[in-house]
């Protein structure tokens, strides 16, 4: 499906540009966005190196294990395929915690580590059930404190920059619960077909 979406976006864009007379912009966008993507990846290096380094120290110090023990009851039912004491659980929980506080930069490296652990469990290059549940929750956003939005509101002199925290929390809860339900629905649907 991702192949179709990826090629589809480019194909539709190029054909549309033929009739819309925007080929100039498209031509420019190809090269500008490619270099933008490289800048983005290079920018990720600092975050990835720093957080993966710190998380490795946290792992060695046993902090991940403590975190896993504390929060496991809440999360283990979401991931029935992951054994209780598996390190994947620790990384999933660290990713969730970072996300909840709007620390997207810290959440990504931990999430990637979680994916690596889950891949070791499934030993295949097809997305496993736990991976999809994990990503469904990530894409629906778990942010309870949207730091980025609050800082933009501050810049534009909002009377109350944080007044949207309440509505964000409610909307986030609704979208996350829907993500879990949708994930379950499509999972059972895929089993049925087999």
């Amino acid at each position: 499906m991702v192949n179709i979406i990826w090629a589809g976006m480019a194909i539709i864009g190029i054909i549309y540009a033929m009739f819309n007379g925007t080929m100039d912009q498209v031509n420019k966008a190809v090269f500008e966005s490619a270099s933008e993507a490289v800048t983005l990846s290079i920018g990720l290096i600092s975050v990835l190196v720093f957080w993966l380094g710190i998380m490795k120290v946290a792992e060695e110090a046993g902090i991940l294990r403590v975190l896993t023990k504390l929060l496991r009851p809440a999360v283990s039912r979401l991931f029935p395929e992951i054994p209780k004491d598996h390190p994947a659980m620790g990384y999933i929980l660290s990713n969730f915690t970072a996300n909840i506080f709007g620390l997207g930069n810290a959440a990504t490296p931990m999430g990637i580590k979680a994916m690596e652990q889950m891949k070791q469990l499934s030993k295949s290059d097809t997305a496993s059930r736990s991976m999809i549940t994990f990503l469904a929750l990530n894409t629906s956003s778990l942010t309870l404190i949207p730091t980025m939005v609050i800082s933009i509101r501050m810049q534009y002199n909002s009377v109350s920059p944080t007044e949207i925290v309440g509505t964000t929390i409610i909307a986030t809860l609704i979208s996350s619960i829907s993500a879990i339900l949708l994930d379950r629905f499509f999972y059972y649907k895929s089993i049925w077909r087999k």
Binding site: M115, R153, Y156, S175
Partner: protein, 176 residues
């Protein structure tokens, strides 16, 4: 408000303190372990590069050609009919596809309507309560070499749709 900003600024330094103090207490060779873990980060960033270049170029072709805008204009009457404010529609459509574009649109909406207007509050809520599905799937699946995404994309996009509708409903009820 003071408390929330304080939590966000104190959280990371306190976490670092906790990790380093606990590791030192347990006689973990902190610096060496940090470097070892960090090396993985370099590899990871480079393995992500082609995934990001591919996805971002394709999205920007669609945007710069004007096709995305045309599509937005095409379905706007329908969305207005079911009660979605027209100003917010481009943001709602772009949010799952491109994080930087969505952030730019949110900033623009807050700038032109004011942060405390209905649209300003709605854009803020929408930006905070959904995430860039396509980017997340690209990065996470790309980093570990998953080729078949299964039903992940379907779940992600449907959850976005529900999140966007939920933002509109919740903001209308609370700030109406």
């Amino acid at each position: 408000m003071g408390i929330i900003t304080a939590i966000s600024t104190w959280l990371i330094p306190c976490f670092l303190l906790l990790v380093l103090a606990a590791a030192t207490w347990k006689k973990v060779p902190t610096y060496e372990i940090f470097v070892e873990g960090g090396k993985e980060g370099v590899k990871m960033a480079f393995s992500l590069l082609p995934f990001l270049v591919g996805m971002i170029v394709s999205i920007s072709i669609l945007r710069s050609s004007g096709a995305l805008e045309a599509f937005t204009n095409l379905i706007t009457p329908f969305l207005v009919f079911i009660g979605i404010p027209p100003e917010i529609i481009p943001l709602a459509l772009v949010r799952p596809i491109s994080g930087t574009a969505a952030l730019g649109m949110t900033t623009e909406l807050i700038d032109s309507n004011g942060p405390d207007s209905f649209i300003g509050r709605l854009a803020s809520t929408m930006q905070g309560s959904t995430d860039t599905t396509l980017y997340i799937l690209t990065v996470y699946f790309g980093a570990v070499g998953i080729k078949k995404m299964g039903y992940a994309l379907k779940v992600g996009l449907l959850a976005d749709l529900i999140g966007i509708l939920a933002s509109i409903i919740v903001v209308t009820i609370i700030f109406g």
